[in-house]
Amino acid sequence: MEKYESVDFYNIDQHFTEEEIMVRDLVRSWVEEEIMPHIEDYNSKGIFPREIISEMGEMGLFGCYLDEHGCAGFSHTAYGLICQELERADSALRSCLSIQGSLSMLPISLFGDKNQKEKYLPKMRQGKLVGCFGLTEPDHGSDPTNMATKAIETEDSFVLNGTKMWITNGTIADLAIIWGKLEGKIRGFIIEKGDKGFSAPEMKGKHSFKASITSELVLQDCKIPKDRILPNVEGMRGPLTCLSQARFGIVWGSLGAAMCCYDASVKYAKSRIMFGKPIGSFQLVQNKLAWMLREITKGQLLAYHLGRAKDKGEETSEMITLGKMNNVDMAMQIARMARDIHGANGILNEYPVMRHMANLESVSLQGTYDIHNLILGRWITGIQAFK
């Protein structure tokens, strides 16, 4: 396959620091050498090799914007660029980074105590321990506030009951951050693999995110010691803070998927001959390519600006919401358009477009398009329309 060409129509590169460029290029070359040759195979077999997590850990990607326990303390913008490069290959990779860093390490870092941090963070950073994030339940997706998972406190322990669903990396995880209600209030708990009453069967049959492991988490009178509660948070603020960080990663990741589809489309349009000339010479096809370039460029400016706002601590969760909604929507449309430009070839695994197209259907879920609209609607009008 021809070498991937990234998009930088507005020379946004000039605004990144040298370190940010170096980090991006590192991940780009790792993806190129270690992932791209195998990703279609992983996808068709529905596997995500454990070594990938180790390699990501060795490079120090997990929690790289944290500044403790050996984490690199990089900018959020650098983190965004890493997400972009990972998702250029496959959403499963970005998702893995996101689950480990933003949804498992971050809650421990923000809401855990000293012992919990020392016990888990260094090994998670190195990819030696894998974490997962259990919020969604079979009957509670968009409204996690009404979750059914419950914990009760006994003399020497907490006992949890409930079921979580759609949990990325659940089956291979060494620990799970479980959100459940204790005396009616949402709290975070750390469940370890092997805890009695805890199991994590893999969910099969996905048409999307096939190279990512998705699991159910079952808690049946699962008894854990008292020091496994995250002491420093209560209520939806806990999971939402983490989700906001994960969505920030998606703002960038979805750009990567879109860039991959655009790159494939440009190459295909220039080489595919129909009616005696390259399809890229027809106005309708050029119109599609121009639209892709336009939307990617807008998405890049948005991501860059959001990144810098986050680096200064000036972002709001609504700003992230708008970015996530826009960029995922844009990427989904570009992936579908790319499939169209590729004709029948677009459905083959020789080309990356259908894989991205299917993946983005899942990426769009972490807060659906409409839920993000409702979040913005609430911000605009001051009236919440969720229920």
Partner: protein, 253 residues
């Protein structure tokens, strides 16, 4: 052990090649580290990690600063410092002139090992390394596929037609690396941060006279003509027609 790694900046493989009036138009070129030289950096860093010492990146280039980030990436792999010799009108196709400038710089560096790639992927001359060794009056081993260091003695392996050559040599020594001599590591984010704190020196050097050959003219390979589909009743018929054409039109059989 003091190791100097010769790193050449060559046009990025994505650069578009355009010929104007028999000359390569280099104005839009982006540059990257010559891939063979990356093996040299990795090997040098491995020696340093095993035996201690210092790894210095030495590069001769123009005043164009766009290459600095790529050189810094070599320090993220583990080199300790970089020295870039900046020369007006630098050209990558003057091995004799470039070896003169590079060897003058190396003379002051007390290097035990000088290591680089077997060739630059810009002009494929494979000349600069051996010329530097000659100018410094030290032995050189070129196109090495495996290099080991034990008790201060180097053992190099080279693939030669139909076999393997093993050479032993003490330092100082110049070695050029063949493709895939060693796997170049992916540095960690921490190493990238560290690389920003490592010394990066730019030195201005004067152009030198040399007896390097001059390129008379460059041209691109001719555009490929269209293919031809041979029609016929049966496979035998088509093969007969093909043989006929190969004899009479292509005149290759």
């Amino acid at each position: 052990m003091n190791i100097v790694v010769l790193v050449k900046m060559v046009p990025d493989t994505e650069s578009r090649l355009e010929i104007v009036d028999g000359k390569v138009n280099e104005s839009g070129f982006k540059y990257m580290v010559n891939p063979y030289d990356e093996f040299a950096v990795e090997q040098a860093v491995q020696f340093k990690e095993a035996n201690g010492g210092k790894v210095t990146i030495l590069s001769l280039f123009s005043n164009d600063g766009s290459i600095d980030t790529d050189l810094r990436k070599m320090m993220a792999i583990g080199a300790d410092e970089a020295i870039v010799l900046r020369q007006d009108n630098y050209r990558g196709d003057k091995p004799s002139a470039n070896a003169t400038v590079l060897s003058n710089a190396i003379k002051e560096m007390e290097a035990d090992l000088i290591i680089g790639g077997v060739q630059g992927i810009d002009y494929y001359q494979s000349a600069t390394g051996p010329m530097i060794a000659h100018m410094l009056g030290i032995p050189h081993i070129s196109g090495v596929t495996n290099l080991e260091l034990n008790d201060g003695k180097f053992t190099a392996k080279r693939q030669v037609e139909g076999g393997l050559q093993i050479i032993e040599c003490s330092n100082p020594l110049l070695v050029t690396c063949q493709k895939d001599m060693t796997k170049v590591r992916f540095p960690a984010l921490k190493d990238i941060m560290m690389s920003k704190r490592k010394p990066f020196e730019s030195r201005t050097v004067e152009p030198v006279e040399s007896n390097d050959v001059e390129t008379a003219e460059c041209s691109l390979p001719p555009a490929r003509g269209g293919g031809m589909i041979i029609e016929g009743e049966s496979s035998e018929d088509k093969v007969d027609k093909l043989i006929e054409k190969l004899k009479t039109e292509a005149k290759v059989i």
